[in-house]
């Protein structure tokens, strides 16, 4: 039996700085032009259909190639105000780039995400503006939750002439962009710079440290505002359902990612020598790679199904592997092992699909030693709405909405991770916010 080895400062400051730089550096102008010229300017382009926010991709790329960067950014941002962040975090391989005809042709899609970043970064650096607010409507809307859905909704409402107040539970806006994704995806405080860019439109008041159900009540908001948009995200982490899951060394991946993102000094963060991550999504990939980058010796990502069933894309899996993470499939955690009250390993049971396609245990067992275990098996809605007199209906544990993003409560709309559509990408949240704003505007005018 080895001793538990969890400590900070495994790597030098220089190495940490290097490890946490931009994982996918921005395109230089020359490269952007070459890449832009690879676009065929398809008619009725499949990439546009594949974009949840329907950005006119061929058009914005053509504008890059002609040097019309302002026009390019307008095409992007008018559809997706977080075009800058989405360019960094979208799994483009399953969205626009997956649909690119050049993917069909020779598996070399146009690097749409990188071009989008090129256009939006250039525009944001220019300090110019493209949005103007419509004449004041005199209407006030409360947005609860300042993540991508909330910011997108607030921005569109402000453009349409409404007054908006954002109530945010945490210190900073931007939600998971600020607290929930790997640091190397959004360097140089991009999430906050994007928030500033969005708020520049004016007409949006932000109130932080206002948690729904505690500091602010839904009933009051419904009375005080003409409309309410709920974009509260998912506050709870699913549990493994194992005994003594609360022992030392077992962490929620999202919490640790938030800690890392808010840390001023990465060398002060503790990391295990041997790390096991349980899960198969982007959060699992992010915590696994970040652990490796902090200096963990062995990082294993264990998933109970196969690579095709992982919600992390093939590209994310590949990224984890090239960063030294070992990805193991068909392993379900059976029990946690501990040493003096600290986790020391996991016993896994091997799994397989039975002839009916159902996941079943084979009975074979595998033991793996670990100093730290991360749970990254999805999040659930915190029921912070309980304090309200009237509750919006839910569906599979999330808020139910109609096609207009309207909840069962009059005057209350919702979007982002907290609704029941089953989609959980930043880009989906932005689209929900935008569409809800359009629906709210229609209702109020």
């Amino acid at each position: 039996m080895t001793t538990i080895d969890v400590r900070a400062g495994r790597l030098s400051q220089e190495q940490l700085a290097l490890n946490f730089t931009d994982a996918h550096p921005a395109l230089l102008t020359g490269n952007a032009l070459v890449e832009a010229n690879r676009c065929y300017f398809c008619y009725d382009a499949p990439c546009v259909d594949a974009c949840p926010t329907s950005i006119d991709i061929p058009n914005f790329i053509r504008k890059i190639s002609t040097g019309n960067l302002k026009g390019s950014a307008r095409d992007i941002l008018s559809q997706n105000i977080m075009g800058g962040m989405c360019a960094r975090v979208c799994p483009t391989e399953t969205l626009c780039e997956g649909a690119c005809v050049r993917e069909t042709q020779d598996h070399q899609p146009v690097r749409i995400g990188e071009l989008q970043r090129y256009a939006t970064d250039s525009f944001m650096e220019s300090g110019e503006t493209i949005f103007e607010r419509a004449e004041s409507s005199g209407k006030k809307i409360a947005v609860v939750g300042g993540g991508p859905a909330g910011l997108s909704c607030a921005h569109r409402l402000a453009v349409l002439g409404h007054q908006v107040v954002i109530f945010e539970a945490r210190d900073k806006l931007s939600g998971l962009n600020e607290y929930g994704i790997a640091a190397y995806k959004t360097v140089n405080d991009f999430a906050q710079r994007e928030v500033d860019f969005i708020l520049e439109i004016g007409g949006i008041e932000t109130r932080t440290n206002q948690r729904l159900g505690q500091d602010v009540k839904l009933d009051d908001l419904r009375q005080q505002f003409d409309a309410v948009f709920l974009s509260v995200g998912l506050g709870d982490v699913n549990s493994l359902g194992l005994e003594s899951e609360d022992i030392a060394g077992v962490y929620d991946a999202v919490e640790t990612i938030a800690e890392l993102r808010q840390s001023g000094n990465l060398a002060e963060l503790s990391v295990g020598r041997r790390v096991i991550v349980i899960g198969g999504g982007s959060t699992a990939i992010d915590i696994a790679v970040q652990s490796k980058k902090l200096g963990a010796e062995d990082v294993t990502l264990a998933y109970r199904r196969g690579p095709e069933q992982m919600s992390a894309t093939w590209k994310e899996q590949e990224f984890a592997q090239t960063n030294g993470v070992q990805v193991k499939h068909w392993l379900a955690p059976k029990s946690l092992q501990s040493e003096n009250g600290h986790v020391s390993g996991i016993e896994f049971e091997c799994t397989t699909l039975n002839p009916q396609g159902k996941l079943t245990a084979t009975g074979e067992l595998r033991n793996m030693e670990a100093d730290v275990v991360f749970k990254a098996i999805g999040q659930t809605l915190v029921n912070t709405l309980d304090a309200a007199a009237e509750m919006p209906e839910t569906e599979a544990g999330k808020i139910a909405v109609n096609a207009e993003y309207e909840t069962s409560l009059a005057g209350v709309w919702a979007g982002g991770d907290c609704i029941s559509s089953g989609e959980d990408l930043t880009v989906h949240a932005v689209e929900h916010g935008k569409q809800a704003a359009i629906a709210i505007n229609r209702k109020l005018s």
Binding site: V34, Y43, D44, R102
Partner: protein, 424 residues
């Protein structure tokens, strides 16, 4: 291995690839390296009468297209800026060291008999294989009554060519400017003056671009620019046409041609030879990529000739000339339709939108089960080729002949032609 040797109006070289008169041929150092790389000949950068001219700084402009650099190229550079004696000595040395290669000297002097005879007398001593009369340069020299100023007036071309031929037995190529309405008139003059062949095209009058900040043409010299000579791949179609005009003209059909204009590889060269050229001259491609490109030019032409069974250049020279006809003789019964290979289609929609907005609305978009496909409407398809060119997938769209292949009717006999000749 095919025999690539060529003879242009009495000037012989081991292969048809010469470097045109330009910076790559302006001195011994360059020409030596070009010959080592395999070039069959050079036309030495144009000599003039001392004192040498002076050049400006910022001399070239370029057209880049969709990421391809230097698709078109222009310059405001003049003839050699080195003393005549230095050039003469180096030419002599090169010819001595490389006796099998063609060394042709390009000349441009004021338009009077005395100066032309003076320069001819100067160069005969170099042992060069021939002279090329630069009547083409469109900038800088033409304002001084030289270059294109002479080349645009057939009478001057004939007169100067005659002076030269009276002064020397050296083969004499007359280099033609494309900046004329009818290239044949100037070719006639070159022949009438006793020229042994023509070289064409020289560069095309051009302004390649405007700097929108400086509001001045490029290349910009201290805030100003001037028209320059356009060349590079972009001018090849113009050159092919002008060469054909001379090849087809009964008066000049046997006049040797040294073809110039956007030639970058062996295919380009083969096309010019098929249209009547005896040899070719290259400049922009060598300025872009260096002398080494001649390796593929020689190798590629050789392999292609072997494959086709052509033993010498003469075996396929002029082969395409009879097939260049006038529009009125084209077969109006010939009918082709676009065919889309669904197995290689990537569904970009460019065939549809190019036909829809740009041609005859003959390709429809079909959406079914979330998939889209494109279908040619034969009744509307006129066989224009636009979709085939717009399609980014090689051979995905082809044109299929659908007429019987046995009927022929041209415009001269067509009922719609008010001036038709009645068939008997």
């Amino acid at each position: 291995m095919a025999d690539l040797s060529c003879n242009v109006g009495g000037i012989k070289s081991p292969n048809p690839f010469w470097l045109a008169s330009a910076p790559p041929t302006d001195k011994l150092y360059n020409v030596e390296r070009a010959f080592r790389a395999g070039w069959g000949g050079v036309v030495w950068k144009t000599l003039g009468i001392d004192p040498p001219i002076v050049n400006v700084s910022s001399r070239y402009g370029a057209v880049h297209y969709n990421g391809q650099r230097m698709m078109g190229f222009n310059n405001v550079e003049l003839i050699t800026d080195r003393p005549l004696e230095v050039n003469l000595q180096e030419i002599k040395q090169v010819k001595k060291d490389w006796p099998d290669r063609a060394v042709v000297v390009s000349l441009m002097v004021p338009c009077n008999e005395k100066d032309w005879k003076y320069i001819i007398n100067k160069i005969v001593d170099t042992g060069c294989d021939g002279v090329e009369l630069n009547f083409g340069c469109p900038h800088g020299m033409s304002e001084r009554g030289m270059g294109a100023a002479v080349g645009q007036v057939p009478e001057y071309v004939e007169m100067v060519t005659r002076w030269v031929k009276e002064s020397t037995d050296l083969p004499c190529l007359v280099k033609l400017t494309p900046n004329v309405t009818d290239i044949r008139k100037v070719a006639h003059a070159a022949k009438a003056g006793g020229g042994d062949g023509v070289a064409l095209i020289n560069t095309v009058n051009s302004i390649v671009s405007v700097d929108l900040d400086q509001m001045a043409p490029e290349p910009t010299i201290d805030g100003k620019g001037s028209h320059g000579g356009y060349c590079g791949p972009a001018v090849k179609p113009i050159a092919l046409h002008m060469v054909t005009e001379i090849s087809k003209d009964p008066e000049t059909q046997h006049l040797p041609i040294s073809a110039i204009g956007g030639i970058s590889n062996w295919r380009d060269a083969a096309e010019f030879i098929a249209l009547g050229a005896s040899g070719v001259q290259v400049c922009t491609a060598a300025m872009h990529y260096g002398f080494k490109i001649v390796d593929d030019m020689i190798d590629g032409l050789n392999n292609w000739m072997d494959e086709k069974g052509y033993a010498t250049l003469e075996d396929f020279r002029r082969m395409a000339v009879p097939n260049v006809t006038e529009w009125q003789y084209l077969n109006l019964k010939y009918d082709i339709k676009a065919r889309i290979d669904e197995s290689t289609c990537i569904h970009c929609g460019l065939c549809h939108i190019s036909c829809e907005d740009g041609s005859h609305q003959a390709i429809r978009e079909i959406k079914a089960n979330g998939q889209r496909s494109f279908e040619v409407i034969d009744e509307e398809c006129v066989g224009c080729n636009l979709c085939m060119f717009a399609c980014p997938v090689p051979d995905c769209i082809t044109m299929e002949r659908v007429d019987s292949g046995t009927e022929y009717q041209n415009w001269t006999t067509h009922p719609n032609n008010p001036m038709r000749v009645e068939d008997n």
